[in-house]
Structure formats: C-alpha cells, structure tokens
C-alpha cells in the first residue's frame, strides 16, 4: 500500500465524509485528541484535522472532513487508492480527562469526530459518559450509531427538530443538568460559536469545561504562531500547548476573529475549484 493512501471513504452527511488513511508512522503513537496535518498534492496548503479513530493493526488513521474550503473540496474529489502528498502527525497533546469521573461530551458538526474516540476511551476506563450531539438538521448528524454504542446515554438535538429534540446543544445540556444529571466535566468540541455558548452555560452551572481548538495552522509544531490564542490572559499555541484548553479561560471572540483572517481569499479559491 502507498504511504498516505486513501483506504476508505464514506459519506456521512451533506458535505461531510470520513476518510481512512494509510499512515503507519502516524499510527504508532497517536492518541485520542491529537491531530494530523495534510496536503492533498504538491502545491497544496497544510491543513490540520483531528484524529477521530485509528487502527494500529492496519496502520490507518481516520479523519472527518467537512467540505468548506479549497483543500477539503479537493480532498472530496480524491478516491480510494489515491494518495495524499503529505500526512504528518500525531501532533498536539492527547486528551487528558483522567481527573474526571462523570463526563458529558458535547459535539457539534464534525466535532463529533473528536468526542467519539474520547467516548470509547472513557468507557474503557469505566467512567460515566453521556453525550450530546447537535446539528442544524437530521442530515447533518453523524456517528450516531457509533456514539450510541460508546456512551451511557446519547442525546440528539437539531436546530429544526428533524431528529431528536429541537434546539441547540446548550438547551439539551441545561435540561439534563436541571433534570438532576451531575457532571464534573463537559468536553465540548464543535464550531467556535457553539463552544463559546457551551462555555458560557457551564460557567453559569459551575461545571469544568474542556474545549478542543481547531485553529488554522501552517507547520503544527510551534514554529509559526498562526494558531495562537489567548487563554487565561496568556498567548498559547493550539498546536503545541493544546489543542485542548480550559474553555472558561479561552478568549473565544478573539479566536472567532482570527478564524476569519483569510475569509475573502478562501472564497476566491473555493470559487475557482467549484468552477
């Protein structure tokens, strides 16, 4: 098998696919919470993706890709048997929720890819694990079967109520806590506004919250500072200090602003590839 070959590809939702990549080096030491950086081809840009699952036996790493930019669209046009130009990792630090006993995982959109390996991990440690998965509508929910198997309780919620309850993940979390659920940790992963909203709620509820920051990156090894963010008043790098941080300390407004740096340029590229 070629290095970085696409071993399987599965459409999970509109604009979201799961890829399994042959990367024997990456898989040797990778752990849940870490990420990879890939380039589709020789002229490609470097884009980070969280590792959502892996098999040390097969030498493969799974990632979820939402087609929102140039590289992700390009990736969507690659097929099983094609090889990526580069696939480097594992980068960043592994998730560490060892100090917690009763955890609620909250996933929005492809954030589910990050909470899934965590659910499996926590389950294997015999901890109490609930999960809330949210999406705009039922077609955008993913990994529901896998998550159901990996958690004690799974709660689905959609903006339009087309599957599960109607509302946002924060509505569901508030309802669960108000109904008597006790969590000592919330692990929230998804779009920045979602993580920001979850953190505002858990601060009010007094629940420790860990978030995974999906900042833009170039090298992913601490060299450039592109992924920097303010945590507890200090500048930290998502790539080497994170990607996970205490959500109550993260300056989300700054992170949201930084995520839009190249919005204009990105639009032009996406237009050029869509033709």
């Amino acid at each position: 098998m070629k290095n970085f070959e696409i071993v399987s590809k599965r459409r999970l939702a509109e604009n979201v696919s799961e890829y399994e990549i042959y990367a024997p080096y990456v898989v040797r030491h990778c752990l849940a919470g870490q990420f990879v950086i890939l380039r589709t081809d020789e002229d490609g840009e470097r884009v980070p993706f969280t590792i959502c699952d892996y098999s040390r036996e097969l030498g493969t790493v799974r990632i979820l890709v939402q087609e929102i930019g140039y590289t992700t669209l390009k990736l969507s046009r690659m097929e099983v048997g094609d090889a990526l130009a580069d696939f480097v990792g594992p980068l960043g630090n592994a998730t560490d929720l060892s100090e917690f006993k009763s955890i609620c995982l909250v996933g929005g959109g492809i954030g589910t890819a990050v909470i899934y390996p965590q659910a499996k991990q926590l389950r294997s440690e015999r901890k109490s694990v609930d999960a809330i998965i949210g999406a705009r509508n039922k077609d955008l929910l993913m990994y529901t079967e896998e998550m159901r198997a990996a958690c004690d309780n799974l709660y689905l919620i959609t903006d339009d109520g087309s599957n599960g309850k109607k509302g946002f993940v924060t509505d569901m979390l508030r309802e669960l806590v108000n109904g008597g659920k006790k969590y000592d940790c919330v692990f929230a992963v998804g779009p920045l506004p979602m993580m920001k909203a979850v953190c505002a709620l858990t601060e009010e509820l007094g629940i420790r919250t860990v978030v995974s920051m999906n900042s833009m990156m170039v090298d992913g090894t601490g060299m450039c500072g592109c992924c920097r963010l303010t945590v507890g008043g200090r500048t930290r790098y998502a790539c080497i200090d994170g990607p996970e941080f205490d959500g109550h300390e993260v300056d989300f407004d700054e992170a949201i602003s930084r995520s839009r740096i190249y919005r204009e340029q990105e639009q032009n590229h996406v237009c050029s590839i869509r033709g």
């Binding site: 080096y25 990456v26 040797r28 030491h29 380039r39 002229d43 490609g44 840009e45 470097r46 140039y70 590289t71 130009a85 580069d86 696939f87 480097v88 990792g89 594992p90 980068l91 170039v218 090298d219 090894t221 601490g222 060299m223 450039c224 500072g225 592109c226 920097r228 963010l229 303010t230 500048t235 080497i240 700054e254 602003s257 930084r258 839009r260 740096i261 190249y262 340029q265 990105e266 590229h269």
Partner: protein, 462 residues
C-alpha cells in the same frame, strides 16, 4: 609602485527592478570578473582566511585553481570541504569570517571577495555536475547507521560528512520539504530554492536518505531512533518565534516573521494562484533589525507594501549584516530607529496602527550594547495594516519535552560539548538547537564537528 586593484563587487539587480520580482538580487560574477578577483588573492602561506571558516574550506587553494583557469580543480577542492557551497556563497556573513582575516582588508583594496568566488565556483560545480565524493575510510563505517533529526544546514552538513565516510544515513524532517530554514526562512531573492534543492540533491547522491513528514518527538521518539541506529544527531534548529508580549498582538495582520516567511517561501504564497494565503498589507511595520527582519521587510516590499522597520536601538546596534541593511535601504525600507512598540491597535479585528515610544541609549547592558531607555511622553502612532514581528527564535521544545533525561539549559537549548556530544550516550546535537538562533555556516560547522565525533566514537565502540 603598481596600482592597487580594489575588490570586485557583486553585480546585482538594480533596486528599482528587484522590488518588483522575487528573483535573486545578486547576479553572480562573470568568468572574467572571477578571474580578476582571484588574481587579487596573495596566496598567503599561513592562510589567515581559513581560520575564519567554520567548515575549514582550503580558500587559497580553490582560489589558486580559479587563477590557473582550472575550474574543475577549484570546484573539487571547494565541494570537498564544504557540503553546501552554493548556499554558503550566498548567505554566509563573510565579512565576519574568512574575509575578516584577509590581509588585503585594510590597505590593499579590500578583502578578497571570497564569498563571491565561492558562489561562482559552487555554481560552476552545479552546472557542470561535480558530485560530492566519498572519502577513503575505515571499512567498519559501512555498517554504521546514523539518524539525523531535521534537515537544515547543521543536519545536511552532518549527514553529508557521515555519508562521505561510508555510513548509512537517514534524515527525518518534520515538514514536507527538506532544507529547514533554507527553504522556509530565507527568501528566494537571497537564496533561490532551486539552488537549495541542487545542493540537497548532491547530499542525496552520497546515499543519504531523507524521510519527510516525521516530527521526531511526536511521530517517532529519540529513544526509538537510538534503538534502531548506532547514533543520532539532533539538528532541529531554533524554530520557536518570540513575540513582543504587548496588547493587540493577536490581531489579524500580526505575524511572526517565521509565519510570514514560511507562508511566502515554503508555501510560495507570493506566486499567483498559490493555495496558501497571506495578507498583503499596504503599510507594513517590521519589528526587529536582524537578518530575518530584513528578509521580512524586503519580502513585504516586493508584495507592494510601504515598509517601515521599527527598532528600539540605533543603527550601530542593528544585528543584521551590513549588506542586508544596505539592500533594504536601497529598496526603500524606512528605518524607524530608537522606536519601541507598546501596543498594536485594531479595527474590526485587524491591525490598524502601532503605538510606539521613542527611546534613547543609556548605559551598556549585559550584551555590551547600550540599553535603550524610554523617553517620557514620546508616545506616537504608526499607521499600518500589517505587523511582522522579527525578534528572534528559540529552540522548539518538542524534543526536549519528549525526552526529559536529555539535559537542556533554561533557554531551552540542548547541552552539548564542542563536538556535539549530549548528556545521552550516542546522541549528538548541533546548530541552533544548542546555540540558539545563529547563522547557517556556524550550524554547518557544528554538524561537521559532530560527524567527526560520531565516526570516531563509533569506531571506538567497535
């Protein structure tokens, strides 16, 4: 008395032209200039120039061959001593090294332009397919296996010397392309990437294997390498950028020089249609005054910006090479000296101005340079839409963090002796990873010395 022939300067693109392109500024000697310059060498018996060369190039010998018109001979001497001569001939600070000791320096028309002659000879070697050669060496070295971490100048120099002696060498590079700072840091107009690639190809031709996309300390650990290889050399450089630590530094449009240059050099963001984006500010302020600051400023200029350089000391203290400062000035970079940024001001999340204070120079500090002191009430603002922070770099902590038993200093540099031997047996290090940010040639010298020790220690262990 005969007339003293003065040094032949390097022909270069005019400043008006070059700010519109990314082509190399220096155009290279013609054969007749090279021969005329070579004639200036007095072939001193004790070769004082050589003591200024960290990799020990036999300078009068190769220049002597140019004089004789024997370019092949010159190329063979040069490539025999220096593993990356076309790179050194372009980026070495010769004025502080070989040329500093040239006896012609003061009264005889200026030092022989050794760097220019090195560039000329190295380019000749490249165009005429002069390959690096293996050396006669101990038979046992053919079984030696060495791993090299990183593929910048220290690593390439170490790898090439090990391979020349017959060892089996594998280089692990974290990025997708080999070359380290030579490909991500130094701009095309100072060091063309095709030149870097050809020099790397010559190292590869010695049998060196380069594996990209491997972050040692993450993908593989040093201890695994020590199990699989007889010895390991760490040449991972100093890649971690320093920031100012002032308000507004995380605004959009504020870059570390590393990020800015990596986007432009490694990811080629200056090319039309490049996928990797970079902001193209109209008014750019570069903070710092080292070579990296000059590289950043001159790059921004080529992207069409009005560029200012803010430095808290005076011109005399600027750490960049004199030539780089001159080139920057010719290209219209405005120097705001004795100016210190205190805040970056933003508008809608993007940098829009930099608040600064004026400084004066007080008593000398620990570095021997006069300490800049803030002048009360001197605050002012510089209008800008992009800020590039070029305040130096420190070693990347990934390796250190993955190997607690490796002794490091509180600055994050790896502790090693002059031959690169670290606190861990069979583990060597050299270049910026042990010294902190320095020059390409010092890193190459360190790689070379470490290779010597690695070969010697291997034989002793056998």
């Amino acid at each position: 008395m005969t007339e003293i022939i003065t040094r032949h300067e390097m022909p270069a693109q005019s400043a008006e032209n070059r700010i519109n392109n990314f082509d190399e500024v220096a155009l290279g000697y013609t054969p007749s200039i090279a021969e005329a310059e070579a004639e200036r060498c007095l072939n001193c018996k004790n070769a004082p120039c050589m003591k200024g060369c960290p990799v020990g190039v036999h300078i009068p010998d190769f220049i002597g061959k140019i004089k004789e018109g024997d370019m092949r001979g010159a190329a063979e001497i040069l490539t025999g001593d220096n593993n990356l001569p076309a790179i050194c001939g372009r980026v070495c600070p010769q004025e502080n090294q070989c040329e500093k000791y040239c006896v012609r320096k003061v009264k005889l028309g200026g030092s022989v332009a050794i760097g220019n002659l090195e560039r000329y000879t190295a380019d000749w070697a490249m165009h005429n397919g002069i390959e690096a050669k293996h050396r006669e060496s101990d038979e046992r070295l053919r079984r030696m296996k060495a791993a090299i971490v990183g593929s910048g100048p220290a690593s390439l120099s170490c790898a090439a010397d090990l391979a020349r002696a017959g060892a089996n060498v594998t280089v692990f590079e974290a990025l997708h392309k080999a070359g380290g700072v030579l490909v991500y840091g130094i701009p095309e107009f100072r060091l063309p990437k095709t030149v870097v690639q050809k020099e790397i190809d010559r190292v590869l031709a010695l049998g060196v294997k380069i594996v990209t996309d491997v972050v040692v300390g993450k993908t593989l650990f040093i201890d695994e390498l020590l199990e699989e290889f007889d010895c390991v050399f760490i040449g991972s450089g100093a890649g971690l950028p320093s920031f100012l630590g002032i308000k507004g530094e995380n605004l959009n449009g504020v870059y570390s020089a590393n990020e800015y240059l990596t986007r432009l050099n490694l990811m080629k963001a200056y090319e039309n249609g490049a996928v990797t984006p970079v902001l193209r500010g109209k008014k750019v302020v570069v903070v710092g005054a080292g070579n990296v600051a000059m590289d950043s400023a001159r790059t921004a200029r080529r992207l069409g910006a009005e560029v200012r350089l803010a430095y808290r000391r005076s011109r005399a203290e600027m750490p960049a090479r004199a030539e780089e400062i001159e080139h920057a000035e010719q290209e219209g970079i405005i120097f705001d000296l004795l100016v210190n940024p205190v805040e970056i001001i933003g508008e809608n999340g993007y940098a829009s101005a930099m608040r600064c204070v004026r400084m004066s120079l007080g008593e000398p500090d620990a570095s021997g340079r006069r300490r800049p002191v803030e002048i009360d009430g001197s605050e002012f603002e510089i209008d800008c839409d992009e800020v590039i922070v070029a305040l130096g770099t420190s070693p990347n902590p990934i390796i250190k963090n993955s190997m607690p038993r490796l002794e490091t200093t509180n600055r994050g540099t790896i502790v090693a002796d002059e031959y690169g031997r670290t606190s861990v047996e069979r583990l060597y290090a050299g270049g910026d990873a042990i010294t902190g940010a320095a020059t390409v040639i010092l890193a190459m010298g360190a790689g070379k010395r470490a290779a010597e020790a690695m070969l010697k220690d291997y034989i002793e262990r056998k």
